[in-house]
């Protein structure tokens, strides 16, 4: 009979409902389970190192030589902070200005064009940025910028990485900032212009202040991205574990420490543990920044009720 093949009987439908509910519930908890599993694995695997060496001593020592069992993380920490701060200093003003252009100035086709261009760029693999930088940014820094400051450099180093990371992270910060600017109610603009403010005054004193938490959270997320970036620094930083003494010096960041030492040294348990501890440090810092960004966005959302 057609009826029984086209529409399954109620009992069968309810069985499907129960089975699917079970599966979906499991999938729903999967995100939390995955998070917990990553944290537990990293902590568990870092314990051999933490039980043998003092954390404070490792974080403040400059001596990194895994083959001699000395694990000083300071050079890599300093390198990572340099790179993250420098790229933020270069990328943030440009990102905010571009976001203002897209949200407040551009119209019609131009707006679609520029913003879809930026979406596309956010999707370009970072290894391609690194490769292009090898032929564009490295000679620029090594042959022109460094001699200008009287430094001799190959072009691989902190400044190069920062420049390239600023480029990598800018589209990401732009789209987040555009989102928070565009979410602002139009009454804000109308009121401000209505009392005689110019467009620039409206943007500066009203819109930027209103969207402030959202833009700031975009910057925090960008900072987290640069902090955990691996491939671009690994290609461009030069890979010497030392505290960089100038912008043109080579160095190491926390992720590149993992890349440069994991291959040959992962068979030694204590080194393996040290590198997993680096991973743990990375996620803790990135998660703190992310959490801050989330709180800011929540506040913004409550203030404007969207």
């Amino acid at each position: 009979m057609a009826e029984s093949t086209d529409t399954p009987r109620l009992g069968q439908r309810l069985r499907i409902e129960r089975v699917s509910e079970l599966w979906l519930r499991m999938a729903g908890y999967f995100a939390i389970a995955l998070f917990a599993l990553i944290v537990l694995t990293l902590v568990h695997r870092s314990l051999p190192l933490l039980s043998e060496y003092s954390v404070v001593q490792m974080l403040t020592s400059t001596d990194w030589d895994p083959s001699q069992n000395s694990f000083g993380f300071l050079p890599a920490i300093v390198g990572t902070v340099y790179v993250a701060v420098l790229s933020m200093l270069m990328g943030t003003p440009i990102a905010i200005l571009t976001a203002i252009y897209i949200a407040e100035y551009a119209e019609g086709r131009m707006k679609t064009l520029v913003s879809s261009f930026i979406d596309v760029l956010a999707a370009i693999p970072s290894v391609i940025f690194g490769l292009v930088a090898l032929v564009v940014v490295v000679p620029l820094v090594g042959d022109y910028l460094a001699p200008l400051f009287g430094a001799s450099a190959t072009g691989l180093g902190i400044l190069t990485v920062s420049l390239v990371m600023a480029i990598v992270v800018t589209p990401f910060m732009i789209s987040l900032s555009v989102e928070s600017l565009e979410a602002l109610p139009d009454e804000l603009r109308e009121t401000s212009l209505g009392v005689g403010a110019t467009k620039w005054e409206t943007i500066r004193s009203v819109l930027l202040r209103a969207a402030g938490p959202g833009i700031f959270s975009a910057v925090l997320l960008g900072f987290g991205r640069v902090f955990g970036a691996t491939i671009v620094p690994a290609m461009l930083i030069g890979g010497q574990t030392q505290i960089p003494d100038s912008l043109f010096a080579t160095g190491q960041t926390l992720p590149t420490l993992i890349v440069s030492d994991f291959g040959e040294l992962m068979s030694i348990p204590i080194t393996q543990s040290a590198l997993i501890f680096v991973g743990l440090m990375l996620v803790v810092v990135v998660w703190i920044f992310n959490f801050g960004a989330m709180l800011l966005q929540r506040r913004l959302r409550r203030r404007w009720q969207y």
């Binding site: 995100a31 998070f35 990553i38 490769l131 620039w200 691996t230």
Partner: protein
């Protein structure tokens, strides 16, 4: 400076910043296409020829192993990740879970999204070591799937949320079960779901840090699920630091292939979204 001059100066500044961003990005794409295109035009066969025995040293043969490796790793990973992501996103809808629960899970997904890819690589590698296996195609798939999962789930969740409520109300009104309603909601949100899956695929195919230690960085053709493999981004990364000119040239050719794939995926996702939208209630009519 009076306030109108300030206003003009600022407008110029904002336009200049946008122009700079667009210019820099045009340089990135342009350099990739020109340098890679030159290598490919000289010898297009390197994309489909297997690597020779001295590939890493002299660039004999081509990088077909990385093309296949990318396909064999990212394809299955996207499939696994997609099934999980659609299930999770469905569970986060109001029919199944409370607002509070889905807020909490979304927080975890955000944090996972922001986790540096290298951490996923290290995480999967510790599993490899724990089970006493060696790095292989299989663990590359797991690493990429884990990496894609939060990205896809966030996109799909967003898509399901924006599906019109009338779909849900009318299916319930006809006496459907929750699962049947969820299927209809998913159908209504199809453009967003497809776009999310494609975006996840694009991110997965471009990432090097997750597969750097998990897939094995081999310079042979992938010949088994538990054999080492490599992907295009890893090949680009390795080749870019070679001393051999020929090997480095392959990095540019490979990045040409990669950028064409990624840009193509984005265009396809936009086109599909536009095409699908006309079949969706409330969607725009193309």
């Amino acid at each position: 400076m009076d306030r109108y001059a300030k206003q003009r100066a600022f407008g110029v500044l904002a336009r200049a910043a946008a122009g700079l961003v667009v210019f820099v990005m045009a340089v990135v794409i342009g350099v990739t296409i020109f340098r890679g295109g030159r290598v490919l035009l000289a010898d297009p066969s390197i994309v489909v020829s297997p690597p020779g025995s001295r590939y890493a040293l002299e660039g004999t043969g081509g990088f077909f192993h990385a093309v296949l490796g990318s396909a064999f790793i990212v394809g299955p990973a996207t499939l696994v990740s997609m099934i999980l992501a659609i299930s999770t996103a469905t569970y986060l809808q109001s029919d199944y879970s409370s607002e509070r629960f889905s807020d909490a899970v979304n927080m975890f997904l955000n944090v996972l999204w922001a986790t540096p890819p290298i951490v996923y690589g290290v995480f999967v590698l510790t599993i490899v070591i724990a089970v006493g296996a060696r790095t292989s195609l299989f663990f590359g798939i797991i690493a990429i799937a884990v990496f894609q999962y939060p990205i896809m789930t966030r996109y799909i969740d967003e898509a399901l949320r924006s599906a019109p409520d009338t779909v849900r109300e009318s299916t319930y009104g006809l006496g459907a079960t929750r699962f049947e309603t969820a299927k209809m909601t998913a159908r209504a949100a199809l453009p967003g779901i497809v776009a999310g899956v494609i975006m996840g695929f694009a991110r997965g195919i471009g990432d090097a840090a997750t597969v750097l230690f998990t897939a094995g960085r081999s310079t042979n053709m992938p010949n088994g699920l538990f054999e080492p493999a490599t992907t295009l981004p890893v090949l680009i990364f390795d080749n870019s630091m070679s001393f051999n000119e020929e090997v480095r040239a392959h990095a540019y050719a490979a990045s040409f292939v990669l950028i064409v794939v990624v840009l193509g995926l984005i265009v396809v996702s936009r086109l599909l979204a536009g095409r699908f939208a006309q079949y969706v209630p409330g969607g725009r009519h193309a």
